[in-house]
């Protein structure tokens, strides 16, 4: 999808005024946060597990070339094919070509954020290939023609009524218009998608983890849609960022322990699958061909510097589940594939700093994301670094720049600062003494729009302190 991150402010405002969305967002907090915490609390050494997760990813990134080549060799040995895509266009072309080679008319898709990132559906549509999202959440938003609002639960912003309406519109009127129960909605989608699974020519999935040791990919789902997607069509295409790699199966086990707990608050999802190559000669089902598309799309740019740490991300969504800003505005306001804290770092890195000015700033730096990140990505620090990059590239707004400049000029001249503070605070103090606060104040409208501004008590602390000390020493 095209980035709409430059529209952050109006989108956020819209989100705050959307009662359905607000209701849905409250469920995110209630659901994911509590379940994760219960499991983390009962795990003997979750902090140690996080350390190990970080160490595995750091080690892999430091040897990424070695492990990628090892991975490629193992995939090839297993009869699969590895493709390398430097850009979005290359990734699209590779997948379109694979589909054309087998004259594919219809493709089923498991949830893939990398696929969203390189706009795979748009490219396949343009090539005349029908794509059907099979993860229920993805399916719902595909019907609604919306981007995902959460990387784990893409349709989390949709209410049951909205889903009922969507199904009524798209499932050809076999049902009445009343609000339907959850089991009915799930069954309805199951029936429709079962047909698609059985008739698809190509199945496209993401990968939660790639393993260099065996040339395998792990796929984690609860619905089983990923397995139907890779097992039924003639061709399986997996698309994944190069940072998804880990060296060994043991390392994958650690990552999966972190992932399930951090993402959905499960010890294990219903289906955790390791796929290696296409069907073996004697197999009676499974695809004839297996392709892995390894995507760069800006990742190698991040590898060399401060933002390498972001490449540890295992896409669990815990940061957004614990982000108070995400909880207030939901995922769409962030304007691209990846919302919340991890998105606020990744989107500027991939889409560009100038098109995403709000993302690094729309954060209170409260650090709750970092405290739950399974691979200890210092998200607040990275967001601050992006602010610095904005400042250096003259992308910081003029009012902020000038305001900071003037304020810093005074802050670096303590005597002048103190003198000015005495005058200003003295005046404000007298004005506000009776009520103790201001409802409105020139230059402070952003503050006073939603809250009162407490008035200064009177003299500055510095002045009052010196006064008192003088009196005491007399």
């Amino acid at each position: 999808m095209e980035s709409r991150a430059h529209l952050f402010k109006p989108s956020a405002r819209e989100a705050l005024d959307n009662p359905d969305l607000q209701q849905a967002l409250r469920r995110v907090q209630a659901g994911f946060v509590g379940k994760r915490k219960a499991l983390v609390d009962q795990f003997p050494d979750f902090e140690g597990l996080r350390d190990r997760g970080r160490a595995i990813k750091d080690h892999t990134l430091a040897h990424l070339d070695v492990y990628l080549e090892q991975f490629e060799a193992r995939v090839t040995e297993a009869g699969g094919q590895v493709h390398w895509a430097e850009t979005q266009q290359e990734a699209q072309q590779i997948v379109v070509d694979i589909c054309r080679q087998v004259s594919a008319r219809m493709v089923t898709k498991g949830k893939t954020m990398a696929g969203e990132e390189v706009q795979l559906n748009e490219a396949l549509d343009a090539a005349g290939v029908e794509t059907v999202e099979t993860d229920l959440g993805e399916y719902i938003i595909q019907l609604a023609k919306e981007p995902p609002s959460h990387i784990i639960a893409p349709a989390i912003h949709k209410t049951r009524q909205q889903i009922t309406d969507l199904f009524n519109e798209h499932h050809h009127g076999t049902f009445n218009d009343t609000l339907r129960e959850v089991p009915d909605l799930v069954n309805e989608a199951r029936g429709i998608l079962r047909e698609k699974f059985l008739s698809a020519d190509v199945g496209i999935t993401g990968a939660n983890c790639l393993v260099a040791e065996t040339g395998s990919m792990f796929l984690v789902t609860n619905e089983g849609n990923g397995d139907l997607t890779h097992s039924l069509p003639r061709v399986h295409v997996a698309i994944a960022g190069i940072e998804k790699l880990v060296p060994t199966l043991d390392d994958a086990s650690t990552v999966l322990r972190l992932l399930a707990r951090s993402a959905t608050g499960q010890e294990m999802t219903a289906y955790t699958t390791m796929v290696t190559g296409p069907r073996r000669e004697a197999d009676t089902d499974g695809p004839d061909a297996f392709h892995v598309v390894l995507i760069d799309n800006g990742r190698t740019r991040m590898l060399g510097g401060r933002f390498r740490e972001m490449l540890r991300c295992i896409r669990c969504g815990a940061c957004m589940n614990h982000c108070p800003v995400y909880a207030a505005i939901g995922g769409h306001a962030y304007g691209w594939v990846y919302p919340g804290p991890m998105g606020s770092v990744l989107t500027p890195m991939i889409v560009g700093l100038d098109k995403t000015r709000d993302l690094p700033n729309a954060c209170t730096l409260n650090g709750r994301c970092q405290s739950v990140c399974p691979v200890r990505i210092p998200l607040p620090d990275l967001l601050r670094d992006l602010r610095e990059a904005q400042y250096d590239e003259n992308l910081t707004g003029k009012p902020t720049r000038y305001g900071l400049g003037i304020w810093a000029w005074f802050a670096l001249r303590p005597r002048l600062y103190a003198a000015l503070a005495r005058v200003g605070v003295g005046l404000l103090g007298r004005l506000g003494r009776r009520r103790g606060r201001f409802r409105r104040l020139p230059l402070a409208s952003a503050w006073t729009a939603g809250r009162d501004l407490p008035a200064p008590q009177g003299p500055t602390f510095q002045a009052a302190w010196r006064n008192r000390r003088r009196e005491e020493s007399r």
């Binding site: 795990f43 990628l68 297993a78 049951r160 089991p183 043991d250 294990m268 009676t284 060399g304 390498r308």
Partner: protein, 220 residues
């Protein structure tokens, strides 16, 4: 003109400021130095592995029955299906471990090469993982993958002797096998589920609506 592969690897090597590219052996020993060869952090339990396996499986909405011999499996399956609208047809994986099953005449048993028209599927698990109550079902001619995902009722036979504590234990066992890794190595933990509609848990999203384990005490 260089290929995307060469360009990506080149950018990685520039980013990592490579003088020389480490060998796989060097990477591996560096990994060992970083992570140590000690036990990774993982859950612990005081009950037996089998008890833990059962508890976790049931927590994931799976059900379980124990039988003493291979012969009894057929009867256990029939009893499980007795009160369900599943019909009498059972699609069974052509697995050597299930050859000696004594199927009751009430059931129509078909050897399955896939799961396309199966309402009830019976597969064989190579192992069970106590840590999470997961079944390890491996694809192969004797265990078609789609049989684990297309039926409404998925029944899996597992030997008690094959229940191991942790995932790492599975890898130790598997690395010794010449046919590892298979195309699809499925860890199955309970029936299919979704919470995509209003975060309400609903079983039977795309895969089986129920998962039933027949735990076989008899050694092979």
């Amino acid at each position: 003109m260089s290929s995307p592969r060469e360009r990506i690897l080149g950018k990685i090597r520039t980013a990592l400021a490579r003088q020389t590219v480490p060998t796989a052996a060097e990477a591996s020993s560096s990994r060992l130095a970083t992570l140590g060869d000690g036990t990774p952090q993982r859950p612990v339990w005081t009950e037996s592995n089998l008890e833990r396996f059962t508890r976790c499986l049931e927590a994931a909405s799976g059900t379980l029955v124990r039988v003493r011999t291979v012969g009894e499996i057929g009867q256990a399956v029939a009893e499980y299906l007795a009160d369900k609208p599943a019909g009498q047809r059972v699609h069974v994986a052509p697995n050597p471990a299930l050859e000696a099953v004594d199927w009751p005449e009430t059931l129509t048993v078909e050897q399955a090469t896939h799961g396309r028209d199966a309402l009830v599927g019976v597969s064989f698990a190579e192992a069970g993982v106590a840590e999470t109550g997961s079944l390890a079902v491996l694809s192969g001619p004797d265990n078609p993958t789609t049989l684990s995902f297309l039926p409404d009722y998925h029944i899996v036979v597992l030997r008690t002797a094959d229940v191991v504590p942790y995932f790492e234990d599975i890898w130790v066992r598997m690395r010794e096998r010449h046919d590892f890794p298979p195309r699809s190595f499925n860890f199955i933990t309970g029936p299919s589920r979704t919470a995509d509609v209003e975060q309400t848990l609903q079983l039977g999203a795309h895969g089986p609506r129920s998962l039933h384990v027949v735990l076989l005490e008899e050694a092979p």
